[in-house]
């Protein structure tokens, strides 16, 4: 039984999975064909070995750099800054954005011990001052929560001296909701209606 206990314990560590669900999943696997388990284990091993953050933008990839950074048809003059890598997918699915991304890996939340040093802000600053990339615009697409707004304000103060256009997604994204859960049309509209920030109001 202890192998099943081990598996259940591991499954329980996943977000949204309680003891009951973990047990159900574990027994489902045990009952099913062995090949299924091996395939799942193989997929997990692949993720562990091959997936890593893109050294340029922080998006997850298996190649040296991610498919967005690699794609020569992308507009290199715009960088869209998001909190988490899964939000890249949400924006990509709209099919309306052709620029690059930058993944912060979270948002400012000193209450949880997350300060600027815990986010990939240095990487972003390097990119905007890199003569080869030389972006003209940075879109701050952090969430519309108190923390997401503060993160945007903070980035704006650091980006301001670089003399580029700094924009924020248009209102329309419900306050406090993660991009992940917002439908594609709303995201596309928020992107299209993005406005310049920092005109004396912040």
């Amino acid at each position: 039984m202890s192998a099943i206990d081990d598996l259940t314990r591991e499954l329980r560590r996943l977000p949204g999975i309680g003891t009951k669900t973990a047990l159900r999943l574990a027994f489902h696997m045990v009952k099913g064909p062995k090949e299924d388990i091996h395939r799942l284990a193989g997929a997990l091993a692949q993720v562990a070995e091959r997936i890593h953050p893109c050294p340029r933008c922080g998006n997850y990839c298996s190649a040296e750099v991610c498919s967005v950074c690699r794609d020569p048809s992308r507009d290199r003059s715009v960088i869209c800054v998001v909190e988490e890598a899964y939000e890249v997918g949400a924006i990509e699915r709209t099919g309306r954005y052709g620029g690059l991304f930058h993944v912060l890996g979270g948002r400012l939340s000193p209450l949880d011990g997350v300060g600027p040093g815990q986010l990939d802000i240095d990487g972003l600053l390097e990119r905007v001052s890199d003569p080869e990339e030389k972006p003209k615009e940075v879109i701050l697409a952090t969430n519309a929560s108190v923390e997401g707004e503060a993160t945007a304000v903070y980035l704006e103060t650091l980006l301001r001296p670089h003399g580029l256009r700094i924009t924020r997604l248009a209102r329309g994204i419900p306050v406090g909701s993660d991009l992940e859960y917002v439908d594609g049309t709303t995201i596309a509209e928020a992107l299209a209606g993005r406005r310049e920030v920092g005109d004396g109001s912040a």
């Binding site: 300060g115 923390e147 903070y154 103060t157």
Partner: protein
């Protein structure tokens, strides 16, 4: 309130109650569960205990889950239910059978006010007691207040954490936009309420006690810098843009103090709802200088203003929950309060009293229920 279903809330067991439209007087000895019943009703209005008890304490001793469901009639009929699972620490709230995604969308569906002997602490307690009064009142009655308050508290806690972590000017200042935006709204809405109801408040005090000139005024921390109100400050909270501007300026002024103390030293979390009596041309706080009777009078007047707010904001008669409310008032004052309540409206009254004779003065025509060890007999 037409029907109330109780399951394992405090000592009330499993019961279903049908209320007469004009209300009811619940008679029973102390510690039988009279206040628990009012607490249950008000829980469906605010989703927390008006006595400040944690949800876990509200669940019957031998149970894991309590559940409440109540329906109101009138212009805004609604069925509200709330359940809490102590083991899983989960609260679920629904309105008309639909689960509320956010608690704030389900607040204030009943339209009820509690009058309790402990209300005197609203007046005699520190400024936080009166801010809490305003926060609950406005959360239940004004759209957008809960969101502003929650946003402000979040920004404040984050800014303080950044200050404690010595995060530097940019990382601390990043929270100022949220702090100022939400905070100015909180100050503005509290100020607006106090300005709107200050006349009525004084009139209630006079009607209850016959004399005493008691006044109510909102004093924003942003305006006064802690001391007595400055001239021309009355209009300060009227203009939200002006509040924002002032808030930003005060944050800048206090920057070094904030850094030294590791905490934000200016903002609506330091505001005060001033209750004063005028004596020999001097304005004195009821909290420190008022007599016991004056404090009780001022507390009742606050609750009467709360009831009047419900009437105006929601267009419905508030349900009055009177928890042995006049136990410490003399007969003259309690008769005045009952008359005031009758003059203002004809809402439902649920009152509790230890003895039949206490209930007689307050509601001669109300149906009588008895309560013994949590069991209610109609």
């Amino acid at each position: 309130m037409r029907e109330l279903e109780l399951r394992h809330f405090r000592n009330l067991g499993v019961q279903e109650l049908h209320f007469p439209p004009e209300g009811v007087a619940v008679i029973g000895d102390n510690a039988q569960g009279k206040t628990n019943l009012l607490e249950a009703i008000y829980y469906l209005e605010s989703f927390r205990s008006f006595r400040g008890a944690a949800d876990g304490e509200l669940t019957a001793f031998s149970e894991d889950v309590f559940y409440l469901k109540g329906s109101v009639e009138g212009d805004r009929p609604a069925t509200v239910s709330a359940g809490f699972d102590r083991k899983r620490r989960k609260k679920k709230v629904s309105v008309d059978g639909t689960d509320a995604q956010r608690m704030s969308s389900a607040l204030g569906r009943l339209g009820a006010v509690v009058f309790s002997p402990s209300d005197v602490e609203l007046v005699s307690g520190g400024p936080s007691a009166r801010r809490r009064f305003l926060d609950i009142l406005l959360s239940l009655n004004r759209e957008g207040y809960v969101e502003a308050l929650v946003g402000y508290r979040k920004a404040l806690a984050q800014r303080n954490a950044a200050l404690k972590a010595n995060a530097g000017a940019a990382a601390v200042g990043a929270w100022d936009q949220g702090l100022v935006g939400h905070g100015a709204r909180v100050t503005h809405m509290r100020h607006e309420w106090a300005t709107t109801w200050s006349g009525a408040f004084s009139a209630y005090c006079t009607a209850i006690s016959g004399c005493d000139s008691v006044a109510m005024k909102y004093r924003p921390d942003l305006g006064a810098g802690g001391g007595e109100p400055r001239a021309g400050e009355e209009a300060f909270g009227d203009d939200e843009g002006l509040v924002q501007e002032r808030f930003r300026a005060r944050l800048a002024e206090n920057w070094e103090t904030d850094v030294r103390r590791g905490v934000t030293t200016v903002g609506p979390h330091r505001d005060e709802l001033l209750l004063t009596i005028t004596s020999r041309a001097r304005s004195l706080q009821v909290r420190t200088f008022g007599s016991g009777g004056q404090r009780r009078t001022a507390a009742l007047a606050l609750r009467l203003a709360e009831a009047a707010t419900i009437r105006r904001e929601r267009g419905t008669e508030p349900i009055l929950l009177l928890d042995d409310a006049f136990a410490e008032l003399d007969e003259g004052r309690s008769r005045q309060v009952m008359e005031l309540l009758r003059d203002e409206g004809t809402g439902q009254v649920v009152l509790t009293a230890p003895k039949e004779s206490d209930a007689r003065l307050r509601g001669p025509s109300l149906e009588r229920w008895r309560i013994h060890q949590g069991v209610i007999e109609a």
